[in-house]
């Protein structure tokens, strides 16, 4: 490619379904997988004469998200109608926010290379209602299911600050963690709670000149994998296309593409950006929204340390690996549990190991969080303390944690019941060491000769002692006695 270099430029539009009890403008319950058209009413069906009523909880959730993303929260905002005809849109307009989004000019920190973070600017955060679903049958017609129609959606639009497929994915993952932390969305990808639309192009430097490739927008991606791969694919495709045709960005040559999950390619949907005229205008059925400090302040108080901040803090404060810190901070309940166990006096690394090796595994299997397993942070801290004191081995600790989940008993009770308390009484162990040494003269000779076999023979003797004590001897104490007797 000679002297060609390029930068990837991606802006991301994300739709997040809010976990409100009811829909955005009516009292229908938000559910998933119900019988088609069973969660509908005159309002979300768009029947003649029906009127929307704003769901305050949705606005509060959206405001909380805007605050977490460091956006300016509008003091005055309103609802606008966005007009387009589609069978899944019963009113043939969507209630959205056009020129006065609830949040604007914020940012999100995402993990970048080598434990660093990168700041991606957020252009706007606004609320709107979702459409229903067209179900394409085998027959000569399609069906429409309006259960989803009117579901509150948070639309988040970033500035084009992302410069790789990995960063795009990282932002999506980070946003998922944030909305879950805030408790405003389940962000369940399987249920379509998060949908992504990246806008991608390249800035190419070639022979001292700069070229910009036409922007492509990939529509409706609903997994992190599809999001990352579609961006990666677009980068390759746009580079190839530029080398082949030399085509660059012009007015109106932005294209819309779809993602083909089977062969992992993007497919052209619309070549030219359609002169879409949505005929936005303020919805006369809804009154404007004034966000007073009296309303916003209690919402602001629900803000919390964001997952990435927490992750970075765990590495610095507790000396955890970046990976472990990431696992612990993935869910707010896990991180809260971990911190409470640490506050109860447990060693952070020890607690981290117990939680990542056993606790979260069990939680995952049972579809619960740590508290849902019946665990108390204080008990886990106590268990960690027993390992640190040498009362039990680390592997016994794992077994006890599992038993705690199964029986609900305290760690010290279980250590007794399961016979997992380590024998550290030097006098008692010395007698056993003596027996082993007497019975294994050859190995003793190998150790004392100090030859090649010395290490291996010492390990053998240690193993014999552990076997005789059925694994309950404290290996540290045994090794000390052994070394002393063998004159090391």
């Amino acid at each position: 490619m000679g002297d060609l270099t390029y930068n990837v430029i991606v802006g991301l539009e994300i739709h997040v379904q809010l976990a409100t009890r009811t829909k955005m403008f009516c009292g229908c319950a938000l559910t998933f997988g119900e019988e088609a058209n069973s969660r509908v009413c005159p309002v979300c069906l768009g029947l003649p004469g029906a009127l929307p009523v704003m769901n305050r909880q949705a606005v509060e959730y959206a405001a909380l998200a805007a605050m977490a993303l460091d956006c300016k929260v509008a003091e005055f905002t309103k609802w606008d109608r966005k007009s387009y005809y589609y069978p899944d849109l019963p009113k043939n307009y969507q209630i959205s926010q056009y020129d006065l989004p609830l949040g604007s000019n914020g940012f999100i920190e995402i993990p970048a290379e080598a434990g660093e973070t990168k700041r991606i600017r957020i252009r706007r955060v606004h609320l709107e209602e979702d459409a229903g679903k067209n179900v394409h049958t085998a027959g000569p017609y399609s069906l429409v299911d309006l259960n989803r129609a009117g579901t509150p959606l948070l639309e988040i639009v970033t500035e084009p600050d992302l410069s790789s497929a990995e960063q795009v994915r990282a932002l999506a993952v980070e946003l998922q963690r944030i909305v879950r932390y805030l408790g405003i969305s389940e962000a369940d990808m399987q249920k379509g709670h998060m949908r992504f639309e990246p806008n991608i192009n390249l800035v190419i430097e070639k022979a001292g000149r700069q070229f910009k490739t036409p922007i492509a927008e990939v529509k409706n991606l609903n997994s992190f994998r599809a999001l990352e791969r579609s961006v990666a694919y677009e980068v390759r495709r746009q580079l190839d296309d530029f080398l082949e045709t030399g085509r660059t960005m012009q007015m109106g040559n932005k294209s819309t593409r779809g993602w083909n999950d089977a062969d992992e390619t993007t497919v052209l949907q619309r070549e030219k950006e359609e002169a879409h005229d949505y005929r936005y205008f303020p919805d006369p059925d809804l009154v404007p929204v004034t966000t007073t400090p009296q309303w916003l302040d209690p919402i602001r108080s629900r803000l919390c340390e964001l997952p990435l901040q927490r992750q970075v803090r765990y590495v610095g404060e507790y000396g955890l690996s970046d990976y472990d810190a990431g696992v612990l901070t993935a869910e707010r309940s896990t991180a809260d549990f971990f911190e409470q166990a640490v506050r109860s006096g447990g060693d952070p690394k020890r607690i981290c190991n117990l939680l990542t090796q056993v606790g979260l595994k069990l939680a995952n299997e049972r579809g619960r969080d740590l508290r849902g397993l019946g665990l108390a942070p204080e008990s886990v801290a106590e268990l960690a303390g027993m390992i640190d004191a040498g009362t039990i081995s680390a592997s016994a600790g794992n077994a006890i944690l599992q038993a705690m989940v199964e029986t609900g008993k305290k760690p010290d009770v279980l250590a007794q019941e399961l016979n997992l308390i380590q024998r550290s009484d030097a006098g008692e162990l010395e007698a056993i060491v003596d027996q082993v040494l007497a019975a294994n003269a050859a190995a003793v000779a190998d150790v004392t000769s100090g030859g090649k076999k010395s290490q291996k023979a010492r390990g053998f003797l240690l193993g014999q002692v552990m076997q005789k004590t059925k694994g309950q001897a404290n290996p540290k104490v045994v090794a000390e006695i052994l070394d002393r007797k063998l004159g090391k």
Partner: protein, 491 residues
């Protein structure tokens, strides 16, 4: 006195006193409908059995010593723009000809809770777009005073039904004059309440920021009675006003107390465009107030001339969006053999919407289109604010404003159908009121040489319906226009 000569208020009192049964009154109304409506065409649907059943129920409860609601046993008609969970709700349109609403409008629920008897649904201009009811896609309605003339519109069916005594009172809706103008043409009382006074939930939308439901009645007292039942905050309508800001008043209670020191604002130059007979009747009415002690002040409302222009941008813009839902996909008329889903939209709408509805959808779509929004829609909103300001300033100098309801009396059927601008101009005196959101009433104030009724329009500041009704009653109490009946050539 025959039952059907009673006002709604009188009937209500007699039913409550056990002097007349609701069944008797309901049967009388149904009989008149059977005899007269084939000529008038006021009703799109009549619920004979349902009405008699409801009447029976009221009679049974009153006989059992129960106290009925404020409209117990009174037979009413409602404009077919309000959703009822019984019968069709057509809006006078072929696109909703067979639409049966699964829910009912808040006002309908309130009528039923007040123990009213709903006789039927009345004809209207399609989607309330029109001033003569000639735009109904379903039926023709004539003026009971002269069957060669229009009843006005868009609530022409309700006004004709009240005038021809085919009901004791009715509900209409008013977006640019659609209650007041047909009331004027038919010689009855029509009240458009303040925007936000009555819930719009279940009122099929035309211009959402302008639409308001109100009573069409024989007397001012009946208007007060009905308003008391339908007014009030509705959590299902975000634009309905809260009780804290504007509590519903006892409109009937102090109705006969004249307003002391009444100052009436008049707009002589604005009235100049009205027919001489109309001007004279209105001037005479104002003089009668003056004679009774009122002070008359001339008010300057410089922006009223722009009301029609602003209205036809704002109302049509909202309509173009409100009517987008009639697409043949979910309910209502669907074209029989669409080639694809686009044709479901285009052909269903093309085949079932009438000419005027299409015209307004196109006007509104144009006004909202990118590149035109600022020049039309935004500018119209600014004009609207100026008009509001005109009223606010005028009301600093007077308690009410009086002017004609319409520049003419009822015009001939077919006279203006081919000239939409001429038709639009017949709303010149009523439209600004909707833009300003204030209440307005039309009461009978005379006849022209052809014995066609003339209406006096009275306007007061927002949420002052109690005062508006008292001012109207002052005139009604001194005159007998409201007791005149169409010649019974219909019988």
């Amino acid at each position: 006195m025959a039952v059907d000569e009673l006002t709604a208020t009188e009937l209500r009192d007699r039913i409550a006193a056990g002097q007349i049964s609701s069944v008797e009154a309901t049967q009388a109304a149904l009989d008149r409908i059977r005899r007269i409506d084939p000529q008038v065409g006021a009703y799109l649907a009549v619920f004979h059995e349902r009405a008699l059943q409801a009447a029976h129920e009221v009679d049974r409860r009153i006989a059992a010593g129960e106290q009925g609601g404020p409209l117990a046993g009174v037979p009413l008609a409602v404009k077919d723009v309000m959703c009822t969970s019984f019968g069709a709700t057509t809006c006078g349109s072929r696109i909703l000809q067979n639409f049966h609403s699964p829910y009912e409008a808040t006002v309908i629920r309130r009528l039923i809770e007040a123990d009213a008897v709903i006789l039927g649904k009345t004809n209207m201009d399609e989607f309330a777009m029109g001033s003569s009811t000639e735009n109904s896609g379903l039926q023709k309605t004539v003026n009971p005073w002269d069957t060669a003339r229009v009843p006005g519109g868009s609530s022409g069916g309700s006004a004709a039904a009240v005038a021809a005594r085919m009901c004791f009172a009715a509900l209409g809706s008013d977006t640019g004059g659609s209650i007041r103008q047909p009331a004027s043409f038919c010689g009855v009382v029509g009240l458009k309440p303040t925007y936000g006074r009555v819930s719009r939930y279940g009122l099929v939308a035309y211009g959402s920021s302008l639409d308001q439901i109100g009573p069409v009645t024989r007397t001012v007292a009946d208007a007060a009675l009905l308003l008391g039942v339908i007014a009030g905050h509705d959590p299902a309508d975000s634009t309905s006003v809260s009780e804290d800001l504007a509590p519903v008043e006892d409109y009937l209670g102090k109705l006969d107390e004249p307003v002391q020191g009444l100052r009436i604002g008049v707009t002589p130059s604005f009235n100049a465009g009205a027919d001489p007979a109309v001007r004279k009747a209105v001037d005479d009415a104002v003089d009668s107030y003056r004679a009774a002690g009122a002070e008359i002040v001339e008010v300057d409302m410089p922006h009223l001339d722009y009301a029609i222009a602003a209205y036809y941008v704002i109302a049509t813009a909202e309509a173009s969006s409100n009517l987008a839902r009639y697409d043949g996909v979910h309910y209502g008329y669907r074209t029989p053999n669409p080639a694809d889903y686009i044709e479901v939209y285009t052909k269903s709408r093309e085949e079932a919407f009438g000419k005027e509805v299409k015209r307004r959808i196109m006007l509104g779509t144009y006004a909202l289109s990118s590149g035109y929004y600022d020049a039309y829609y935004l500018k119209a909103l600014k004009v609207r604010n100026l008009i509001r300001g005109d009223f606010v300033r005028a009301f600093e100098r007077c308690d009410c404003i009086m002017m004609p309801v319409a520049p003419t009396t009822a015009f001939r059927i077919g006279e203006k159908v081919d000239d939409p601008l001429k038709m639009y101009l017949s709303d010149i005196y009523t439209i600004a009121v909707n833009l300003a959101g204030i209440p307005g009433i039309s009461i009978p104030c005379g006849f022209d040489e052809a014995r066609l009724p003339i209406g006096l329009q009275i306007l007061t500041p927002a949420f002052s319906e109690a005062k508006l009704l008292r001012i109207a009653r002052m005139y009604e109490a001194r005159t007998d226009w409201h007791t005149k009946r169409p010649v019974e050539t219909l019988e």
